[in-house]
Amino acid sequence: MVDITRRQTLFGLATGVSGLGGYWALGGDWVSGDDGAPSGDDAEADTITVGSPWTPDSLDPVVNGWLWRRISVLEPLLTVDYDATVAPGLATDWRRVDDVTWEFDLREGVTFHDGTDLTATTALPSLRRAFESSSMASVPVESVEAADDQTVVIRTDAPFSPLPAHCTRGTTCLVSPAAIADDGSVSEPIGTGPFQFERWRQGSSITATATPDYHGVPPRVETLIYEGITDDQTRRLKLENDELDMARILPNETADTLESRANLTAHTYEIPRARFLVFDVDSSPFSDRRVRSAVMHAVDRDAIVENILSGLGSAAVGPFPSNITDWAVDDLEPYEYNPERARSLLSEAGWEQDGETRTRDGESLSVSIWTYNSRPKLPTIAQVIQRQLQEVGFDVEVTLMESATIKEQAKSGSFDAVLWSSSVLWYPDPDRLSDFVHSEATTMFSGFENETVDRLLEEARRTSDRDERFERYAEVQRIVHREVPIGWLTYYTNVVGTRADIDGYRPHPTESCYHLENVTRQR
């Protein structure tokens, strides 16, 4: 048992660290046709079935593009590399011409699944549609034009450095102009990917087949079936019963069991996702920074990783896991587990121990932690936090709600703390920090307002120089670390189970694409 766990942890780390220029890395695949592709082998003409929690709900890239992109049916202008940086996609190169103008060189010789050639003209309709959609509302694109046959020019209202990162999002995936109806709706995902859309059952499954004349390395399997299965136990059982070749996002503790079976393999790998506490900095008691710091000192994050997460993952320091992305700043001093320190911080803030629960001016230190079920470990972690906070004099109530309800109620009213989990890099740019701590752009509802943070984030958004940007994001991370509007708890490790005869699968850290075109079945 112990051995397996250690090996898997090492494997997870190795996958995370060795992001650069891997054998299967997209960059490599795009550039050369014969790179790593075994010469024609009939046995590979086969089917692979993958199960994920998300159901296919729409054929429209603006709504569900991220899903079509994950299964390699649609492709965006730019992609995300295994080191979580922006890499070439349907655009081979891109450059910032001036503060607000960007040029993208389209790849030559690409055709849509319906035979239409990819040119600047055929790319425009989907791009315009994407940037006009509400899901891209935070991206200030002013116009999308064709400069010549193979060059697309995007202009923004204001200098906006994260633009290339946003061009990796599923929303911006290109579909053939023929797929866009006169009323602007998309009736079929006719893309450019290694798999092409065959049929779907809305809300449950998708069948896609290998694209005959794909512009990169052709897929090794003939048919790809995607199944949306919400329940993780169902996914696991289907994998064990041979109904799935790959089951994604399984509970951590299944990793050992999967490994112990001869016909199954578990892939564990860290992803840039964090579990964290969002404090309401506008209401007592978390309006006081000392009380928020006390929480961070009172929670034993290593124990959570070890005991609740089966040792998979690591205690978080800042928002970004440093073994996945270079945007992590490495001089943050982690909040050490120190209940004594927590107690003295609380006393300093005026909360005096009086019986089990601390009080201040007759008000007792009672807080409510809201969390939700759909990420299975959160309720358990909430209970551990509850217990550990009780140790230093908090009275904690845990309430499970729907995640949507939490967002709504936390935005509109006051709360104490929310235990949440979300990706910190779902588009590969640290501008994502704005969603967490910018006073206006924030989607994380802590109510945090800090002029310096706002200024740094806005400057970093305008600046094109990477080092200058890094400086600013590093400073934001330091300030946020000190002020703790959000307390980072742990990073996230995903468990993907596959059948042992599935070969060539390499987990992608941001999961923007499963890269199933690289997967083979050994028979």
């Binding site: 136990q233 299944t254 124990a303 079920n373 309720p379 209970q383 551990v384 845990v398 309430t399």
Partner: protein
């Protein structure tokens, strides 16, 4: 027969001897009684005996399989599963009795008023009852609990609201049959007040079927509470509630079978016990009503 029915005391004595008879002769009734009694004993005394705290975490002893120190193993936070089950039994039985009690009182009151008053009052109340019965109970409860927010109290409220209609209908139909019987007419002709007639003559005669229905209902309430807690609307962690335990143990199905099976089996046995008891009570207390009850 009519004499017996007009005299509650005698009737009760009668049924009591019949009850013991049935229980002696009916194996299933015995099982029901034994199960329910042992559950009550376990719920009342179990927590006093157990050396563990139901919410105290012990991360050094997570997911331990059943052993002499932990007869039903420990959960993902190192808590003793048996202890949690015992506290859970307290909670489940308490809630079931409280909810059924509210259903019974409200339903009986409505049924008495509707049946005895008749006219538009009856009409209005019974249409309300019809409407409530037309809803799938658990779905309506889900909506109510969802709107009120997740908590055990709200779940109790929701279950109480959706469940009283069957009592009202049962009581009303009994009252309709009783109101024209000689002893009721006599009482009325003697100038007894309405309250007197209802309290002295009607209520004693509807008690039996209502008690039977309540016993059968308890199982349903336990299931309902566990179901709503299972989907996160009921008891909040770390409260040791059976449905919540079931839900949180589900992800460990392969590593720790006891986490799911212990509360699952508990729920099953409890519901079975109350149903068996209810069935035998029905045979004893209101044989004529058996057919009528089937339809509820």
């Amino acid at each position: 027969m009519s004499a017996a029915q007009s005299d509650p005391q005698q009737r009760t004595a009668d049924s009591r001897s019949r009850l013991t008879d049935t229980i002696r002769s009916n194996r299933l009734a015995q099982v029901g009684v034994v199960v329910v009694l042992s559950l009550v004993v376990a719920a009342v005394f179990g927590p006093l005996v157990s050396p563990y705290d139901p919410v105290e975490q012990n991360l050094a002893h997570q997911l331990e399989p059943p052993s002499p120190t932990h007869p039903l193993g420990t959960d993902q936070l190192g808590r003793d599963v048996l202890t949690r089950l015992l506290y859970g039994a307290r909670l489940s039985l308490g809630i079931a009795v409280a909810v059924t009690g509210v259903r019974l009182v409200v339903g009986t009151a409505v049924g008495l008023v509707a049946g005895y008053a008749g006219g538009w009052v009856d009409e209005a109340l019974m249409r309300l009852v019809d409407t409530l019965l037309a809803f799938p109970g658990i779905v309506l409860a889900l909506v109510i609990a969802g709107v009120l927010g997740p908590s055990l109290v709200n779940v109790m409220l929701a279950l109480a609201v959706v469940g009283w209609a069957s009592y009202a209908r049962l009581v009303r139909s009994n009252v309709l049959a009783l109101r024209n019987r000689e002893f009721v007419t006599t009482a009325r002709l003697l100038g007894r007040s309405r309250t007197h007639v209802v309290v002295r003559h009607l209520i004693p005669n509807v008690v039996a079927p209502v008690v039977v229905l309540a016993t059968l209902d308890i199982g349903g309430v336990i299931l309902g509470t566990a179901g709503l807690s299972f989907i996160g609307l009921g008891a909040q962690p770390p409260t040791p509630e059976w449905g919540t335990m079931l839900a949180s143990g589900r992800t460990y199905l392969q590593q720790a079978w006891w986490l799911v099976n212990a509360p699952g089996v508990c729920i099953m046995i409890t519901v079975l016990g109350f149903n068996l008891l209810g069935d035998s009570l029905r045979d004893v207390l209101s044989p004529t009503q058996s057919a009528q009850m089937e339809q509820l």
